[in-house]
């Protein structure tokens, strides 16, 4: 017994040691490319999926665009959005209903199979068919038919005039997937375990929660990709992300908090880039009866009480543009008149509050914390201005998922901050169903009629004019009060060049060694 027990003890200790080393062996890095040939990008969260049509997440898309390609690409030269060829060499539509795409014929999937029009048809129909795919809700909604006209020619027919159809081919759900590899008995799950695309980098490994590892695709149709290896890391903790940037652990680190900018800039190896992005901070105002904000004078007072310039300069350390508007200048259909100029009038705000007889009235501003850069701090500053204007303003911070549920249940405060983003066109403002999600109790006759006119707009000019008017109405009635357009702040290592993109994508091919 004694001997056996001793043996068991011995085995147990060996077993314990082995069980410790086993996971260590499992996680040791696969053969790594030299650091100089490797681009490492640190994002705030892990990619959620390798399926381009099944996530609603910028960081995920930013990783996936290196594996797959869009039919058309978006670029932002001089702050203006334009479409440039991707897998489609050219496209045309005379009536905004029937669209024809001429595809490249020199593109191969990572397994060597040629890319054809069937893949495009498959990708579109897949999104439309499977309601569980998250992109299904918003992508290709107007598409009625996809016709393969030839191996490299495809025709898309929409149900109505759709001036925005091209937007569907860029962004979440737009990356083209291989029909031949997905339509197997094993199905999608098998495919996305080791997916193939047509993009510049091949999928190597996705260590969930940690990193996406990609390797150069030497067969890429646009030439040999720049990096031997690309790693997209997930570092949720900002402090840690900054530390990684400072120590050269990563080349690009996204979303640097403004207070760390000096540190990053003073560090000899790193610099800061900042650029406009498709996002705006706006107060959403509840105007139903019984709320203090049902009085238009109070809503106007709130609008006037906020010193947007001070918020932009001090809370955001200058990395934001103060505005009364809802869409930054890069977005087609934005209203450039809604500026922050002369928007701050504390005197008049106080007067309006007095007129309305609500001095000292309690008002609650709900806000998430940490969802968007400095969201809570912006809200706290707004609360301060509202207090100055004579309201008993209080902040209510909610964790993001709770915040969402509350918004859905219509139980947030009289005001709530929302950082809407990732839009490609101002027309979202006229989506009444969408409006009901955010401003369930606000309605305006002209606004409703505008939402009907928009589809019939004869020209792009007319369409944009409708959109500008819509923004004027909703901000004029203070159902939404624009505050600012935040900027992205990234840390970039001095060994690489990257300017940043309005759509917050970081395509490895656009990051270059110096």
């Amino acid at each position: 017994m004694s001997a056996t027990r001793r043996q068991i003890l011995k085995f147990a200790s060996i077993g314990m040691a082995a069980s410790m080393l086993l996971p260590m062996a499992l996680t040791t890095a696969a053969r790594a490319a030299p650091r100089s040939e490797t681009l490492i990008i640190a994002q705030g969260n892990d990619i959620l999926s390798l399926d381009p049509a099944n996530h609603e997440n910028n960081s995920t898309e930013s990783g996936l665009i290196n594996i797959y390609d869009y039919l058309v690409r978006k670029e932002f030269p001089n702050g203006e959005m334009t479409f440039v060829p991707g897998l489609a060499k050219s496209w045309k539509s005379d009536d905004l209903i029937t669209w024809e795409f001429e595809l490249r014929d020199d593109v191969k999937w990572h397994d060597g199979t040629p890319f054809t029009a069937d893949d495009v048809k498959f990708t579109i129909e897949r999104v439309k068919a499977d309601q569980k795919l998250l992109s299904s809700a918003v992508k290709f909604r107007t598409v009625e038919q996809v016709n393969v006209l030839g191996p490299h020619r495809v025709q898309v027919v929409t149900s109505r005039r759709d001036p925005l159809l091209l937007h569907n081919f860029v962004g979440n759900g737009g990356l083209i997937l291989p029909k031949h590899a997905l339509e197997t008995p094993e199905g999608a799950e098998k495919f996305f375990a080791k997916p193939i695309g047509t993009g510049p980098y091949r999928f190597t490994e996705w260590r969930k929660g940690d990193r996406l590892v990609l390797e150069r695709n030497p067969e890429w149709w646009e030439g040999t990709p720049h990096w031997e290896s690309v790693i997209v890391r997930a570092i949720p903790e900002t402090t840690t992300r900054v530390a990684e940037a400072l120590t050269g652990g990563v080349d690009i680190a996204v979303n640097i908090p403004p207070e760390d900018i000096t540190r990053v800039e003073q560090n000899p190896d790193t610099g800061i880039i900042s650029f406009n992005i498709a996002r705006n901070f706006a107060l959403h105002v509840r105007n139903e009866d019984g709320k203090v904000t049902s009085d238009p004078r109070v809503r106007e007072a709130i609008d006037l009480a906020i010193n947007r310039k001070e918020i932009a300069e001090i809370v955001a350390e200058g990395y934001a543009t103060p505005t009364r508007g809802l869409f930054p200048a890069e977005i087609p259909g934005n209203n450039p008149d809604l500026t922050a100029e002369n928007a701050f009038d504390p005197e008049r705000a106080r007067k309006l509050i007095e007129e309305a007889g609500v001095v000292g009235a309690p008002i609650k501003l709900s806000t998430p914390s940490g969802r968007w850069t400095k969201d809570r701090e912006v809200s706290e500053a707004i609360v301060g201005y509202l207090q100055d204007a004579g309201l008993d303003a209080q902040i209510e911070v909610q964790e993001w998922s709770v915040y969402n549920s509350r918004r859905d249940a219509d139980t947030l405060g009289e005001l709530y901050l929302w950082g809407m983003g990732s839009y490609t066109d101002a027309s979202v403002i006229l989506n009444l169903a969408l409006l009901r999600r955010f401003n369930p109790h606000w309605t305006n006759e002209e606004f409703v009629s505008l939402s009907k006119e928009i589809d019939q707009a004869p020209t792009e000019e007319a369409r944009q004019a409708i959109l500008r008017r819509a923004q004027e109405i909703i901000t004029g009635d203070r159902a939404r009060i624009g505050i600012l357009y935040p900027k992205a702040i990234h840390s970039v290592n001095n060994r690489v060049n990257f300017a940043g993109r309005f759509d917050e994508m970081i395509p490895a091919e656009q990051v270059r060694r110096k």
């Binding site: 410790m20 086993l22 999926s49 530390a243």
Partner: protein, 305 residues
Amino acid sequence: MILTAFGRLLLQAVPVLFTVSLIVFILVFLAGDPTVMMIPDDATEADRLALVAAWGLDQPPHVQYLRYMSNILSGDFGTSYSYGTSALPIVLDRLPATLLLTAAAMVVAIAIAVPAGILAALNRNSAIDLAVSGASVLGKAMPNFWVGIMLILIFGVQLRLLPVSGSGTFAHLILPAVTLGTAFAADLAKLVRASMLETLGQDYIRTAYAKGIPDWIVIGKHALRNAAIPTVTMTSLNVIALLGGALVTETVFAWPGLGQLIVNAIYTKDMAVIQIAVFVITVMTLLVNFGTDIVYRLIDPRIRL
């Protein structure tokens, strides 16, 4: 003996797992509709309802739960809302990293706590004892994320000795393991000290001294072995806590373990992932308890499985 214990484990596991899954289901159900978070900002209410229907979330809760349970019995552990794939592999993928960190943290904790605790017990009321007690109280009183960030700033940024975050090499393991390990070492050292003191006061230690054998044998063989039981108990409790509980440290060090996964799943109300993660952790917990029982038996022949 081991088979009996294993059978008992299985019989124990079923009710616990069932209760756990029910509790989690109720809580997550009460937490509300996950689709609010899933769909894009520019989707409409109708889109959302379509998604709700697609996931079967429009069914009454008991129907959802029954369907969920019957799926589990047929081997289908559900699909993650946010990942869109089977929840089980998502969770299992994270397990190695969690196990590794847990083991490393325990090694750190034991390596610090056991010698410190023994030294303190042998030099009771001395400066050593005071230092050990003081350090252990301090170690317990500091929030984990604070310690982690300080370690990053000192060893990662200032001294540039160790990688700041991530996983993959042994060096990556050190800081998170130390962060967790020191926190547990604090409690453990105190416990080792107390159980050593208690053991040293036992009659059989007097017997051992009366035999005239060397002191290190009395301490190392007679006392330590007996003092090991509470130490093993606490270590196993800590292991259990770590298996699903290193949420904070994993986030600070971007360590791809279960903790981070679960935090995100909770943020997004990803029911299937939460359920499976809790399920896996519960199974691990029961396994750890089982292993602990075996270790008890190895240490103390009186304990029967």
